[in-house]
């Protein structure tokens, strides 16, 4: 069943030979029965045909081409020589040793002046990420700065005198009066004998009478007395 709207939607493709042969034959047979569609199709086909012819015709005259070829040949040769020169420069750069400064400086200069092609979405994402990192770091630094505000610490040095209890070592030399030891002075015989007995018990091997410090008072003033002579002289 013929449908004008459906058929018209296929006219451009039909005129451009883009419809399968079977469908094409069907459409063309339908056109015989519909005058409006046939006229429409002829108009489309004519347009396509005229345009195609016009496009294929627009060429310059023969006199144009020698100049065109000369120009092309010149450009080809110059590009070829440029490539050869670049290649020669490249090979000479490897054959002759470059100074150290050039060898270091040249790659750095190339790196600094080179550019990297990055897709726009990737670049935007990168910029946003860097921005976010910057904002986070900045805010964190501000928080740290706020938290670290404390009253200033001043160190006061004060000298305090502390009483130090110093132990005083007192060394006393006690001299025993010979005459008193031999019994001249016997203030408390019983006490002395008791003490002597206990000492004798403590030191059973001692043949001599042990010395006693009873009744001796330590003196504040120590008076040193040099005694001449030795033990033998004493006997």
């Amino acid at each position: 069943m013929h449908n004008c709207k459906t058929s018209k939607s296929n006219f451009v493709e039909l005129a451009c030979n883009e419809i399968p042969p079977a469908r094409s034959r069907q459409l063309l047979s339908e056109l015989n029965d519909c005058v409006a569609c046939r006229e429409e199709y002829e108009a489309v086909r004519s347009t396509v045909h005229v345009s195609g012819q016009a496009l294929r015709s627009g060429l310059p005259a023969e006199t144009f081409w020698p100049t065109y070829r000369e120009r092309l040949r010149y450009r080809l040769v110059s590009s070829q020589s440029q490539n050869t020169k670049n290649g020669a420069d490249h090979s000479s750069a490897y054959s002759s040793p470059m100074p150290l400064s050039s060898r270091v400086w040249e790659p750095l200069r190339r790196m600094a002046s080179s550019s990297v092609r990055v897709p726009v979405p990737a670049a935007l994402v990168l910029i946003l990420m860097l921005g976010a990192v910057f904002v986070v770091l900045h805010s964190r630094a501000q928080v740290n700065a706020a938290g670290s505000i404390t009253p200033s610490v001043s160190v006061e040095t004060r000298t305090v005198q502390v009483p130090v209890i110093q132990e005083k070592v007192i060394t006393r030399v006690v001299y025993v009066d010979k005459s008193r030891r031999r019994g001249a002075a016997q203030p408390d015989r019983t006490a002395v004998s008791a003490t002597a007995n206990s000492v004798a018990r403590a030191f059973p091997n001692t043949s001599q009478t042990p010395l006693s410090l009873i009744d001796f008072k330590p003196t504040d003033q120590v008076k040193l007395t040099v005694i001449k002579g030795n033990y033998k002289d004493e006997k």
């Binding site: 451009v12 493709e13 005129a15 451009c16 883009e18 006229e39 002829e42 108009a43 489309v44 086909r45 004519s46 347009t47 396509v48 045909h49 005229v50 345009s51 195609g52 012819q53 016009a54 496009l55 294929r56 015709s57 627009g58 060429l59 310059p60 005259a61 023969e62 006199t63 144009f64 081409w65 065109y68 070829r69 120009r71 092309l72 040949r73 450009r75 080809l76 040769v77 590009s79 070829q80």
Partner: protein
């Protein structure tokens, strides 16, 4: 091995003369395509020569897996797309009718035109077609050129340009509608060229 293959091999080894002979075989097609795409003679010359320079640089990579022209057409399309990007960043795509007429006159002044365009009425038709094509987007124009000048199928065009089949169909339909509006072609197909020109002259 055909003479073209031999020329290709010589050109691959760096023979500029062999490459120039190859270029002579296809220069008209490439130039015509470039001219209808960019609509200015000087631009067309630069663009077509750019195609040849790129082809010469890429020729060592040609592996004879397709015909030389198919390979060359890929380079041409890429050059056109790059040209469009560069031009769209430079200026607006829309040209005034006077500018188009002027650019076309420049082409005519380059020497006497041959074939179809030699008569006045056909010349007028060509100008109308150029004006109509100037009114569509560069992609629509390129699709139309690839279809009606290069004879590529919808599927081939969609593959080459990386767009869907629907985009190609829609693009061709819009361009045909635009051309139809400009040319006012309503007569019998046998007489369309003359009648189109008569319609324009009316």
């Amino acid at each position: 091995m055909s003479s073209e293959d031999e020329l290709i091999r010589l050109a691959q080894s760096g023979d500029t003369n062999a490459f120039c002979l190859l270029a002579e075989a296809y220069e008209r097609r490439i130039f015509s395509l470039a001219f209808h795409y960019c609509r200015e003679r000087q631009d067309a010359e630069d663009l077509s020569q750019e195609v040849w320079l790129r082809a010469y640089a890429a020729l060592p990579g040609f592996r004879f897996e397709s015909t030389f022209y198919t390979w060359l057409r890929k380079i041409t399309i890429n050059c056109f797309l790059n040209y469009r990007r560069a031009r769209s960043s430079r200026q607006s795509e829309t040209l005034e009718s006077a500018e188009i007429a002027e650019s076309h006159t420049t082409l005519h002044n380059g020497g006497a035109l041959v074939g179809f365009e030699s008569t006045l009425q056909n010349r007028l038709v060509v100008e109308k077609v150029m004006q109509a094509l100037a009114g569509v987007s560069p992609q629509q124009r390129l699709i139309f050129l690839l279809k009606h000048q290069e004879g590529m199928t919808y599927a081939e065009i969609s593959k080459e340009l990386g767009c869907s089949l629907g985009t190609v169909k829609k693009s061709i339909s819009r361009t045909v509608a635009k051309l139809r509006e400009k040319l006012q072609v309503v007569e019998e197909p046998e007489n369309y060229i003359s009648s189109a020109a008569t319609g324009i002259l009316r």
